[in-house]
């Protein structure tokens, strides 16, 4: 496994849904790479195409009414347009997924242990007892107390945070190199959110995995990702290292997202800044920059011509804007 070739290489990925009212471009022209042992954050508002992107990257899309173009290569294996059998070889063993709602992502009538050791027995060919031992080990790894007893319980007996830990254990069972976490903490309490995120971070470091963390919450990605992809209306509007994007973002949308996050350093009762307007209708995107109608810096050009991604100062930092914010002086 050479570190020079990226683990995941997404090139010009487009996902278009065919609907009765016309095509809806949920993801258009998205490119990014993910290296081994790295955490990438995908951020954006609701409806910006984050979830569709993360599923398309895995090759997971509805059977019908969808057109996917472009390329998504995991360890050099193309997942876009691959047959179900080809994808099944990769799914679970090289890439695993954690879902938003732990209440629905576990089978309610299957014992917890069985949901974890299924993949070990079917895909890894472990014996019943070996799979059981490994599943209990995994439950312990994700911090579930008395795993031997929990192994035999049904998901209904666990709290949301515990269930999400089980979901993570199940995802780890196939020892994947890439973990896709689609809003893994949205369905959980704030106090549990931090625990789950720290657990993910810790596991990533220990198991030398790469993680794609999809979220709308910048607080979630701030300290846990090395790079960020900011999405708006199905397109990447800014990409770069997390440090660069927080300190020297150029795209007004990124700033708007940052200003919309609560900060502990703000005085009490500070009103959160909201982004005026609503995300655009993906079926009728404006000709120019999709963000222009909501942007305070928009000029005539923004409404007619779409900006392409262009390099900024930082390494691997790109943004798509005609009127970028100035780079703050004094920051090196």
């Amino acid at each position: 496994m050479s570190d020079s070739s990226p683990l995941l290489e997404v090139t010009d990925l487009c996902t278009t849904f065919t609907t009765p009212t016309g095509p809806v471009a949920a993801v258009s022209g998205v490119s990014f790479t993910l290296n081994h042992d790295e955490t990438l954050g995908i951020v954006g508002e609701s409806g910006s195409g984050k979830t569709v992107l993360s599923r398309t990257v895995m090759g997971l899309q509805p059977r019908r009414n969808v057109v996917v173009t472009g390329s998504s290569r995991l360890n050099g294996v193309e997942l876009v347009g691959a047959s179900e059998a080809e994808k099944r070889r990769v799914w679970g063993l090289e890439v695993a997924m954690i879902f938003q709602d732990p209440m629905t992502s576990l089978n309610p009538v299957m014992r917890i242990g069985k949901q974890i050791d299924e993949i070990l027995r079917v895909r890894r060919g472990l014996s019943r007892s070996a799979a059981r031992d490994r599943a209990i080990e995994l439950l312990e790894l994700v911090g579930i107390p008395s795993p031997t007893q929990r192994y035999r319980e049904y998901p209904g007996a666990l709290s949301g945070g515990m269930r999400q830990r089980v979901v993570i254990a199940a995802a780890l069972a196939g020892s994947p190199q890439l973990l896709m976490a689609d809003e893994p903490t949205t369905g959980l309490d704030v106090t549990i959110q931090a625990q789950i995120l720290n657990l993910l971070d810790d596991l990533r470091a220990r198991l030398r995995m790469s993680v794609v963390l999809v979220t709308h919450d910048l607080g979630v990605v701030a300290t846990r990702t090395s790079r960020l992809v900011v999405m708006y209306a199905g397109r990447v509007v800014e990409v770069g290292s997390t440090r660069d994007l927080f300190a020297r973002h150029r795209m007004p949308y990124t700033r708007a997202l940052l200003e919309g996050s609560p900060r502990l350093s703000n005085p009490a009762h500070t009103r959160l800044v909201t982004i005026p307007g609503r995300p655009p209708n993906l079926a009728q995107l404006p000709a120019g920059c999709s963000f222009a109608p909501r942007c305070a810096y928009a000029t005539a050009q923004c409404h007619v011509e779409r900006p392409e991604l262009q390099p900024a100062d930082g390494l691997g930092h790109y943004f798509a804007c005609w009127n970028p914010l100035p780079t703050p002086t004094g920051v090196s």
Binding site: W91, A96, T104, N107, E118, V122
Partner: protein, 292 residues
Amino acid sequence: MSSAFAVSELLESPAATPERKRRLGLLFWICVGWLSLNVLAAIFANVLPLDNPLQQNYSAINVGPSLHHLFGTDDLGRDIFSRVVFGSRVSIEVGLGAMAIGFGVGAPLGMLAAYRRGTLDTVLSLFMYVFLAFPAIIATIAVLSFWTPRSLFKIVIVVGVASVPLVFRVIRASTMNVATREFVVAAKVQGATDRRILVKELLPNVAPIGVSFLLIGVATVITLEGSLAFLGLSVSPPTPSWGNMINESRTILQTNPWLAIFPSAAMCLFLLCLNFIGDRLRSHFDVSDVKL
């Protein structure tokens, strides 16, 4: 003193609840017992000390219940008790046989249609709804009138085929309810094949509804057989069935009500037990309902 008592009671109640939930209840076991008794009697009717159900005794015509004839005799002097026991064979065979056909065909198709959706679902559903548009009783009467000579086997087939769309519809609906949940996608990205998802993930979720509908379906089919027998379209006399006994009683209802009462009561109790067990099992196996 009294408050301490209340607190201890509060503390104990959560532990007691799951225990109580696991119990099926006395009535359930009484129903199971009654059904088992019926089924065993039907199986071993030949070796039980019963009168020959076809034996006519002209010295005891239309007599009421007595020690010699527990349920009395009919207008040909045949023992009603023996005929009720032998008659249960027809009902049980039709009930189980027809539901075996109905579930054997309807359940896999329903699950497949709900999981795959698309063209397969559209075509299957359309076909089943066209089928359902014919009233089952009229359709079975029409087919059985022309498909002669009648036999139990043919009745089982016709009633079984008639039940396929009903089973399909129930199983498809309950599968669809489960198939759209995220754990199905989760299983898929764990690399599970479609067959594995259907059998391991979806089937256990659909099974409780399937089992309860199976029992209620058996009850419905027995009623249907009863209706057919009442119209003279079930097994030919003199073979007894609950339905044709009730039919025979029609003309002598005023002189000998026993001939109508006993087969009706046998059928009614049998169906009641089936429905009750089905309903009880459904709520019992519903582990997804368990809340802390």
